[in-house]
């Protein structure tokens, strides 16, 4: 590639040099032609070039479209995604018609009506009927596009169904952390950003018993197929944005303001592998809000599987509390018994003895709890 660039830059430099040398010859002829004579050959060439550009441009558009088409809008794996895809191609069709018609007029007229000393331009300053026509027609088309788009938007952004499976996804520099609601209560516990440390990277608040069975992952999000999924999205440090290209999902992760997006994935990873013929295929979650140096590599794998194997997978996971028993220090005394099953036996004893159990490490007081 470097060589191609080198060669091309040499070519460009040569062209530039050529132009500069031409400049002196052109400029030396300055005195001869009067402006009116200049309107002649150059004018005809420029007029014709518009037609050449139009034709080559149309060919280029068709050719490049056919070439690039295979990569457009990767296979949608969510019902709402297929709906927006349809609207996208519908809108694209409408604007392509407008694009081609207007550009044909725009390039044809200069060629057709180029300067001719024997002709005079038409004095045609206004026509209210025409103005009305091309105000109303775009307005009507626009109204249709807005209406279909608005209905799709309203449905996509509606409240998630009550039976939606909830996950939490937390953005940080430079990876995603997923928190699962746990197999026992299937409920996300409260969190507080002041509780974040290297063991508790989403700031789970263990004063809430719903937290006890929550577990986290920084590499994979496993979700069940054909079931509404509600992503509760937040960020730890700066803005991030959850982007799941195949699901047509995108929503910013905002520190201090949890956001959400719900969708249904209706093709498992395996189904997609068979469909695309690519055995390596995997869904991915990316970041689309610039967040710093590692913005381009915040990859999180998304695995869509049938409900049974998803359940089975979740059961294999270890709650965060079991991995880091020291987190139990925050558990209030009355809930210790409930938490016991997640803790190794010795850890329970030490923490019940502890007198600082109910107080904060470092003495930070939590101003408000942020249960979501």
């Amino acid at each position: 590639m470097v060589y191609i660039i080198a060669v091309l830059s040499v070519v460009f430099l040569a062209l530039a040099a050529l132009v500069v040398s031409r400049m002196s010859t052109v400029v030396s002829k300055v005195n001869e032609p009067s402006p009116d004579e200049e309107i002649g050959t150059s004018n005809r060439i420029n007029g014709a070039l518009f037609m050449v550009f139009l034709i080559l441009g149309l060919i280029g558009i068709v050719w490049s479209y056919l070439h690039a088409q295979q990569y457009f809008l990767p296979e949608a794996s969510s019902p709402h995604g297929r709906r927006t895809d349809f609207l996208f191609w519908l809108s694209m069709g409408i604007i392509m018609v407008a694009f081609i018609v207007t550009n044909i007029m725009l390039f044809y007229f200069p060629w057709r009506y180029q300067y001719n000393p024997n002709r005079r331009a038409a004095y045609y300053p206004e026509n209210h009927k025409l103005e009305l026509i091309w105000t109303v027609i775009p307005a009507v088309i626009m109204a249709i596009m807005v209406f279909t788009g608005w209905r799709a938007w309203r449905d996509i952004m509606a409240e998630a169904p009550a039976d939606a499976q909830v996950f939490e996804i937390v953005g940080k520099q430079f990876n995603w952390i997923v928190r699962y609601p746990g197999v026992d209560d299937n409920k996300l516990g409260a969190f507080n950003y002041k509780l974040i440390n290297s063991n508790n990277d989403t700031g789970i608040d263990y004063t809430d018993p719903a937290s006890f069975d929550d577990f986290t992952s920084t590499t994979e999000l496993h979700i069940p197929v054909n079931k509404p999924i509600l992503l509760k999205i937040r960020a730890r440090d700066v803005l991030h944005s959850v982007f799941i290209p195949h699901m047509r999902v995108k929503m910013d992760a905002v520190p201090g303001m949890p956001t959400r997006f719900w969708f249904v994935a209706d093709k498992t990873t395996d189904e997609m592998r068979n469909m695309t013929g690519n055995q390596e295929f995997g869904y991915e979650i990316a970041c689309t809000e610039v967040c710093g140096r590692g913005h381009f590599s915040m990859r999180l794998r998304l695995i869509v599987e049938d409900e049974a194997s998803w359940q089975a997978w979740c059961k294999e996971q270890k709650p965060l509390l079991s991995s880091y028993p020291e987190l139990a220090t925050r558990i209030p005394l009355n809930l210790k018994a409930k938490a016991a099953k997640y803790l190794p036996a010795d850890a329970v004893e030490t923490s019940t003895d502890s007198t600082v159990a109910a107080s904060q490490p470092g003495g930070i007081s939590i101003a408000r709890s942020t249960v979501r």
């Binding site: 460009f12 725009l106 938007w153 905002v254 970041c287 967040c291």
Partner: protein, 629 residues
């Protein structure tokens, strides 16, 4: 106007005036209060900035097009931003993206375009001696100059310039710990922008005051060239929206330096870092404030270009602009709607979805006046007698970009479709065509068209043609394929596309192609720079009215001096688009020709206006040279 005598007699005045013209070099060329000199200062600054801004894009296009390239050859310029293995630093990649955006949007297309042509054309086309306040005008340029100096300086500091994208969303931009670009670079960015906004406000107040108060005799609003309408509306847009950006920037400065929490809430930095005490702020607030300027900014950049294009297309089609009143109405419509559509930049930021619906409705309404404008341009060409001056070519190119880029706006303005396309290359392609390339073409068209008035010499036509065709083809080659990459879901502001399966093995060739096209287009701009510099000194001497145009600037001497017209300012009797009027001898009738002199071409209602001519001539309110001070 300290050079102006209080003697009311014009003749005596001119003598006096000539006598006073021996200003020092500094007052004449540097700290000048003359609108023409200030316009040239803006133009030269704008050209320098555009070279810097586009060069940055070429460097990061190298990274995007040829991710494995060894960039050691750039080390003399970029120093340690190229690491030991010859790779570009990812932080500096973001810094270049940010600087490219900031420079092109604010320093080139706002200051360079509006600053140059509003300053140059408003007094000349409305028939004024100068701006309402020459001093504020000078101040405006020098605030811009200081802003430029600060911004330029920020590119050379150790931690690099601001690097959070040109939108500088907090918390990334607010927390120096999270990004090197958010350290001193961001402080300088904010300082520079604050100065820039002051400059814009000083300029804007001046443009508005001048257009309202200093129009010459007979120059009613309904006789103003569309250029002036565009500059006037642009100035109003800027005056209302820039202060909001200033407040956004000030609050960000407070958050950065004084521990406030306007934009910060519940933040924990780093792996084993610290929880910040800030609670209750909202990063979304910044986005609202930013886009309240940011969206009108698109039109601040575009409207002057559209205004100049109207003038240039009408002149060179030898036809009146089609639908003069509809053009004004659609510009007013666009200017008004510009303030209530900002939310379409924020559909997926967590803003209330209901608000998203509202902004989608409002956004798509803006397509209607835009469509009217596009159709009016095309109809102006229809049955014209078209001369392809370089300015005309660039104007036609502008209309093409305006249509192509504007149409994809219908897709992005649709919130349901924006979910997938937001922050992908589809957006990049869209706004580069409709706002970047279209406005840049307006700037270039303006330079080619008014160069004779600015410098008294002609630019070379042939080089102009070459420049146009290379640039026009080049820009389409860059941005048309970019839509494809966006439709495939490639996110913007990515240093590389190697981390994801969905971007890994596709479109590498397309990205290389776009980069080559970008280098090609950039190279073509040197034809312009060469032509500009050469013509400045050696260009053919300009005739009085090289394009046979109707507007007042061509009634001034070829090299207008201080005060623009040596004697009386001409009065205006007709609209600026009397081209190819049936019955008229020439195919143009300048605005200062009274109807009484053109009985052969007058329309019935115009004959009635002959009686008013004495009234117009009797007015003499606005000549600054005739007013005591």
């Amino acid at each position: 106007m300290e050079t102006v005598s209080s003697n009311p007699a014009t003749v005596a005045h001119v003598v006096e005036h000539d006598h006073h013209e021996h200003q020092s070099f500094w007052r004449k060329y540097v700290f000048s209060e003359d609108h023409k000199t200030i316009a040239k200062q803006y133009l030269i600054s704008g050209i320098i900035w555009s070279v810097i801004g586009i060069s940055l894009s070429v460097i990061f296009r190298l990274q995007l097009g040829f991710p494995t390239m060894k960039m050691d050859f750039l080390r003399p310029i970029l120093g340690n931003w190229i690491d030991a293995t010859g790779k570009l630093d990812p932080d500096f990649y973001l810094a270049m993206v940010t600087m490219h955006g900031t420079i092109m949007v604010f320093f080139v297309l706002t200051a360079g375009l509006s600053g140059t042509f509003s300053n140059f054309l408003i007094p000349l086309q409305i028939g004024a001696r100068d701006m309402a306040s020459g001093f504020l005008n000078m101040l405006s340029y020098w605030f811009f100059f200081v802003a430029s100096a600060v911004m330029l300086f920020s590119m050379f500091i150790e931690t690099g310039p601001a690097a959070g994208g040109w939108v500088v969303y907090p918390p990334l931009s607010a927390l120096p710990q999270v990004h090197p670009g958010s350290q001193l670079g961001m402080t300088l960015w904010l300082s520079s922008m604050a100065l820039f906004i002051v400059s814009q406000l000083l300029g804007g107040i001046n443009y508005i005051t001048t257009v309202i108060n200093l129009r010459t005799r007979g120059m009613s609003f309904s006789k103003l060239p569309l250029t002036i309408w565009a500059f006037f509306l642009t100035a109003i847009l800027g005056l209302i929206s820039f202060p909001v950006l200033l407040s956004a920037a000030l609050l960000l400065i407070f958050d950065r330096s004084f521990g406030t929490s306007f934009y910060l809430s519940e933040i924990y930095i780093g792996q084993t870092g610290e929880a910040l005490p800030n609670v209750g702020g909202s990063p979304i607030l910044f986005q609202h404030l930013f886009w309240f300027l940011g969206h009108p900014e698109v039109y601040i950049v575009l409207l002057p270009a559209l205004g100049m294009t109207s003038e240039i297309i009408a002149t060179n089609s030898r036809k009146p602009i089609f639908g003069y009143r509809a053009m004004i109405a659609s510009m007013m419509g666009i200017a008004f709607l510009a303030f209530i559509v900002w939310g379409h930049h924020m559909f997926v930021t967590g803003m209330n979805p209901f608000l998203g619906s509202i902004f989608m409705f409002l956004t798509l309404i803006i397509a209607v006046p835009s469509a009217v404008k596009a159709f009016n341009y095309i109809t102006t060409l229809w049955r014209g007698n078209i001369r392809f001056t370089p300015a005309m070519l660039f104007s036609i190119g502008l209309v093409s970009f305006f249509i192509s880029g504007g149409l994809t706006g219908l897709i992005l303005g649709n919130s349901a479709l924006d979910i997938q396309l937001h922050d992908t290359y589809f957006v990049v392609a869209h706004f580069h065509l409709v706002m970047g390339a279209a406005s840049a073409f307006g700037l270039l068209a303006g330079v080619y068209h008014w160069f004779p008035k600015m410098f008294g010499r002609m630019m070379n036509d042939k080089l102009g043609y070459i420049h146009f065709w290379l640039t026009f083809v080049g820009i389409y080659l860059v941005f048309f394929p970019m839509h494809y990459i966006g439709i495939a879901g490639f996110p913007r502001r990515y240093y590389a596309f190697t981390s994801y399966d969905f971007t890994k093995n596709i479109f590498a060739d397309m990205n290389s192609f776009i980069s080559l096209a970008a280098i090609f287009t950039f190279t073509a701009q040197w034809v312009f720079v060469g032509n500009f510099v050469y013509s400045l000194f050696r260009g053919k001497k300009a005739p009085q009215n090289p394009w046979k145009s109707n507007t007042l600037e061509w009634t001034t001497p070829i090299n207008p001096g201080h005060g623009n017209w040596p004697g009386e300012i001409p009065a205006v009797y007709r609209w600026p688009y009397d081209y190819s009027k049936p019955g008229a001898k020439d195919d143009f009738i300048p605005q200062n020709v009274p109807y009484s002199q053109t009985p052969e071409s007058n329309l019935p209602h115009e004959n009635e206006l002959i009686g008013l001519e004495h009234e117009i001539e009797a007015q003499n309110l606005n000549d600054q040279f005739k007013q005591p001070h």
